[in-house]
Symmetry: none
Subunit: 207 residues, 4 copies
DNA sequence: TATGAATGAGCGTTCATTCAT
DNA sequence: CATGAATGAACGCTCATTCAT
């Protein structure tokens, strides 16, 4: 069993690194800043990470992995559409909650202190999110809920972007906003935009 | 007289710097790479720029200035709404065209090799764009075209984000896409989402 | 624990810096030369000094501080003049000894590889030395040992200068000269020059 | 015949260089500063000087050459000593006048913005001045005017130093001091110090 | 294992000098 | 001859990484 202090060493360092990266970006953040913030020695950093970039990667990958797990839940294609949309809403709320909880790293990624060499990770994820989104739209079309004349590529992009930006603002808030209301506003806007029959697109207020 | 200053020098350097910054980000881009790419000596860089950061700033500021000139056109509040929307569409098309023409810098800014110290410039611009957007939505509400129940803050965010992301994709395309179609797709989605009376939101195809 | 800091490091570096500064002057001395001479890495220099100028300042300040401690000994104004003169002679001998021991830095300062920005430190010190000297002359006048017709400003200048130059030569000697004889020669010349009654000015040889 | 502007080009540059060197020292003074101050182009500098160091050398050499011409006047060894001393006084006054007129360069040399590589020129000159001085003292001894027990090396050093320092102060004065009085003060001090018979050493006031 | 002193590659910037005009 | 734009060697300093203790 490691000494109690060791248990938290890596966690302390990761947290400090997160802060440092958010504040200064990958390049400008100094390893010494990180270790000082974590109250550890400079050498200890290299007991846990191969390099500064490695620490960055671990932070990003950890975040994206947890994020991916939330986003790529299997859609039950046989369920009725109303159910799918409802579960979508629930999932998105969890997502917003997750972003809020991890707003430091989220800012890091969404604003891009990421430095060219890690951009691909965020881009890849953004692409996957958009693909997910696109599948949902296609499903909606197939079921006749959504308009047939949509350009799926551009539409999915716009939807993903709307989420993107709202989340980016979300994580920059000093106090936790009403996530549910934010989410509903976005979904309402987009669902109406997608709907074949506007009347049905209106989200029913939760009773 | 003295050797006349090479009029292409600064332009060459700016172009090379743009490339280097897009490829490696501000920190990792080396001045020597920039000058080599521009086929100039290292010293020549400092004939035109105070520092590497200065070159970066000039690129960003130049781009944002030209962009701002396009975005902040005065809206004729007395015009009828159809006219406003039409002119909005035209302006946006110019904007898309502008982004395509300047896709290198656009990528630089939208992805954010920008490094913490310049983020504020992009953020500030994004904020202005969103404010513009918000004003248009308010106007639509006042005229009765848009729903009254919209949360202006979040809605304007979502709209700005949709544009954001579409443009980000746009500038990453290897070949020039059909800007007009992309734009119409986005606007159609959003206008329908905003519309009080869905029938009227449908954009009429240009005759 | 960590590698204990090499206690000789800073001393080695200061010595090497002294040499380099004496040889090439502040500007031309290269940090890399200094560290090479000290058998250390370039980086180690910056563990001990903020900058090349800082190292220079530390050397000069250290020297001047020790020097000041020797020069500004309190004169017992109530003592009889013979005693004062004797103690003056003793102090000066210590001073000569000190300059000889520290001839490297002394040369640096007296010749002035000092670069404009540090000249003031030497000038300030020279001014203080001259003021000290002036006070002694005034005292001699008050006691009736020295002539009343002296222009104190110029006289003290000349006396300080005589010392200056002798010391400058002293520190340039390859072998330690007879400090005592040098000192006596100077003092004898000056005391005779100052004396109201030439007979009394003659220094008695130590028995 | 060169164009009128050319006639003054080198003179302008030398003057500007003097200023720049006095202000910043050889290393820190930039060629561009010099040419700007002279109202000339950077290239013109190299029409007149091989390098920055060359300009410095020309300034120093020019000054020292004119100085040497004043100092090394032939002493008429057959003249009676009173005459020699009187002519010495006259020469020294001219010297003081010369230093005052050329106080900019004088400061440059005496304070030593000279940088290691030119120190030898000043040192050499200082050595010659001291040798001159020594010869005069020897002469005085031979004629029985000066004490026989003087250590010529150290004494000449002290005398040269007294002049040195007084001149150094002289050239730093904002307003022209009474050169004659300064000179007499120094000479009086030194002559009394040297004199075998104090009574004869007293300088007679000019009638 | 933990520490932090030591290392040295790397890069931004300066500025004396050159040379095309 | 005069100009000043262009050049590139040189050097101070930083900081990620190593490693002796």
């Amino acid at each position: 069993m490691a000494r109690p202090s060791d248990v938290h060493a890596k966690i302390d360092l990761l947290r400090a690194a997160e802060q440092a990266f958010v504040e200064h970006g990958l390049e400008k953040a100094r390893v010494e800043d990180i270790t000082a913030k974590a109250g550890r020695s400079k050498g200890s950093f290299y007991l846990h990470f191969q390099s500064k970039e490695d620490a960055f990667r671990q932070i990003v990958e950890g975040f994206l992995a947890r994020l991916a797990a939330m986003v790529e839940y299997p859609v039950d294609l046989d369920a009725d559409f109303e159910t799918i949309i409802t579960s979508w809403h629930e999932k998105d709320l969890e997502l917003f909650e997750f972003f809020w909880q991890n707003r430091a790293v989220a800012q890091l990624l969404l604003h891009g202190g990421s430095s060219a060499q890690f951009r691909y990770m965020v881009d890849e994820f953004a692409e996957r999110a958009r693909t997910n989104c696109r599948m949902l739209v296609e499903l909606g079309q197939a079921r006749g809920y959504y308009r047939q004349d949509l350009d799926l590529d551009v539409t999915s992009l716009a939807i993903a972007g709307a989420y993107d930006r709202v989340v980016r603002e979300l994580v920059a808030q000093p106090k936790k906003p009403d996530l549910s209301r934010w989410l509903e506003t976005v979904q309402d806007l987009l669902l109406r935009g997608l709907a074949a029959n506007p009347e049905r697109a209106r989200r029913r207020p939760r009773s």
